[in-house]
Amino acid sequence: MNSEQLALRSSVRALLAKHSDVRKAMELPRGHDPDLWLRLCDIGVLPIPAEYGGSGASLAETHIVLEELGRTLTPSPLLGATIAVQALLATGNDEACRRLLPGIAAGTTLAALVSSDASERDAQGHRSTQTSRSLVLDGDVADVLLVADGSSLFEVSPDQPGVSRVHTPTMDPTRRLARITLTGPARTRLGPAPDLGHVALAALAAEQVGAAARCLELTVSYTKGRVQFGRPIASFQALQHRMADLHVLVETARSAALAATDPVSAAVAKVYCSEAFSKVAAEMIQLHGGIAITWEHDAHLYFKRAHGSAQLFGSPAEHVRRLTAMLQPA
C-alpha cells in the first residue's frame, strides 16, 4: 500500500468507527445508512474516473474500502455499485457515463447490475420474455437498473410496468438483496457487456478478508481478557494454536484476494476466502463461548455474513466445479 492508500484506509476506518451502526443500519428502509453512504462517496470510494465526476480511484482503492466495510460489517451499496460502475464504463458509452456516473459518484443515484442469461428460453425453445434474477445487490432500492444479457448492457428504469422488485431477506441481515423479474420492460442498449465475474469476485474477496481479519482480532482480544482457572484463556496453548492456524488462514486469504485479477485467480479467491471467512467466524463463536450466540454480540452477524457471502456470486461448490473444468494437465 502506498501512502495515499494508507491515508484512505485510515480515514475510512475513522469514519466507520464514528458513524457506522450496523444494528441500526440493517433495519433502515434501504438496508443501509444513506448519510454514511454520502460521506463515503465524499471520500471518493467508487472507482469512477474524474472526467465522469468521480475521484479517479482505482479498483485497488475500492478494495481497501471494501475491506474496511467488511471489518465492521457496515451495510453499504459499495459492493453492488462498484460492479455496476465497471459494467457501465466497459460499454464505452460516453453519453451514458456522463449522464449516470456523476450521480452515482455523488451517492445520489444508486445503480444495480442485473445479470440475466441471454440464452434463457421457454419450454418451446423461444427466448423467454420473462427473466428473473435473485440475489441482486440493492436491487429493490436502486434508482437505475443495468441489465446485462450476456452480450449487451441495457439501462432499465425500475419504475415501470414490466419490472418487479422484491426485497428477499436472507440469513445475513447486513446485506440488501432482491429478486428482480423483468417482463419485457422498456430498455435502452448502452453497449457491449463483458464478463465482469472476476471483478465481482475480487471485490467480494476483499470484503471477506476484512471481515475474517476482524473476527480474528476480536477473538484474540476476547481471549486475552477472559480469565478462567486464574489465567487469561489466551494463555492456553491449545487455544493459541487454534488462533495461530486462523492467522495463517487470514494472511493467505488476503494474498489470494489481492491477486484475484483474472477468472481463474478470482475463482480461487472466491473458494479460498469463503472457506477462510466461514472457518474464522465459526472458530470465533467457539472461542467466545456462550456470549457469541447471543443477539447482542456481533459474532453471529459475522457468521451469517460469512455464510451469505459464500453463496453470493456462485457458491464455492460451483466455483470448484468450474475450476475442475478449467484445470488442464500440466
Binding site: Q228, F229, A282, I293, W295, F303, Q311, S315, A317, R321
Partner: protein
Amino acid sequence: MDLDLDAETLEFQAEVRAWLSSHVRRLSSLDTSEGFAEHRAWERELAEARLSVVSWPEEFGGRDASLLQWLVFEEEYHSVQAPARVSQNGIFLLAPTLFTFGTDEQRKRLLPAMARADEVWAQAWSEPEAGSDLASLRSTAVQCEGGWLLRGQKTWSSRAAFADKAFGLFRSDPTASRHKGLTYLMFDLKAPGVTVRPIAQLDGEPGFAEIFLDDVFVPDRDVIGEPGDGWRVAMSTASSERGLTLRSPGRFVAAASRLVSLYRANPDPALRDRVVDAWIGAQAYRLHTFGTLARPASGPEVSVTKVFWSELDVALHETALDLLGEVAPEWRDGWLFSLAGPIYAGTNEIQRNVIAERLLGLPR
C-alpha cells in the same frame, strides 16, 4: 443395521412407535411464550401415556425401562422429529442428581411434578466470570433461620425465561477456596428477589436467561446433599449432562437420515462424502453407545462422548447448511443448538484436558 432386541423391547418399541405416529405434531418454538406452553402440554400427553420418563421407577411416573429400552425410545422419538423436550434440564440433569443424592422426601415431592411438566426446571450453573471454570463461582448462599439466602448472578441459564424453578451451585463458605464450601440448592424462579432477564439468541429468541438473585430465601429442604458438598454433587450432574443422558444417538441418527434425504433431493456430488461421513459418524456414535451400555456412564469416559457428539452435531448441520446454501427453518434450531454444543456442559477444550490427564495419563 438393526439391533438385536429381545421380545419385551420389541413390544415396547412397537408401542412407542404407534403412540408417536398418532400424536406427533409440529409445535411453535420453545423459546416463545406460546411455544413453551405447547411444549408443556406435549409433556403432559407423554406423561399420560407414561412415556415422559420411561427409565424412572413407576412410583414417580416412569415404567422402570432398561437403558436399552430408553435408547430405543429415543431412537423412535427422534426418528419422527417429535418435539424438543422442555423438561430436559429437569429429567436429564436434576433427576439423576436427586436419585443419587436426594432424600426420599425430595424425590416424592419433585419428581412426579417434573415428569408431568407441572414444574419445568432451568439450570443455573454459569456465572459471568465462571463458564467452564465452575469452581470459581461467586454467587453466595448465607445460612439463615430455617434455610439460606441466595445472592449473586447466574447466566446462560437455559429455559429460565419461562421455567418455574432452577437448580445450581452457590458458595456457602466464603473462606473455603474454589472446590470447597459450595452448596447445591434448588430455588423458585418466581420467589421474591429473583429477576430473570432473557438473553436473545442469534435468532432473536430467548433460549437463555440471566438470573439475578437478591437475598432469595431457600428452605433447608431444598438443599441437595450436605451443605458444603455441592462440588461433588454437581460433578455427578455435570457428568450426566456431558454424557449419554443428554445426547442419545437417536437424535443424531435421525438428523443424519434427514441429511441423507436432503442430499437425495439436492445431490451435489462434491458434498457426497461429507454426507456419508456424517451419516457414518452418527452410526459410529450409535454403535459406541449401544456397545458401551455396560460401562458406567460417568467419569472421564463421558468426556469422550461429549467431544464426539458435539463435533458430530456441528458437522451434520454444517453439511446440511452447505447442501442447502441457505438456512432452512427446519435446520435452523438444530444448527443453533449444535453451535452451542462444543461450548456448554464444559467446553470441549476442558473435555480434552480431562481425556489427556485422566484417560491417557499425560502430565500436567
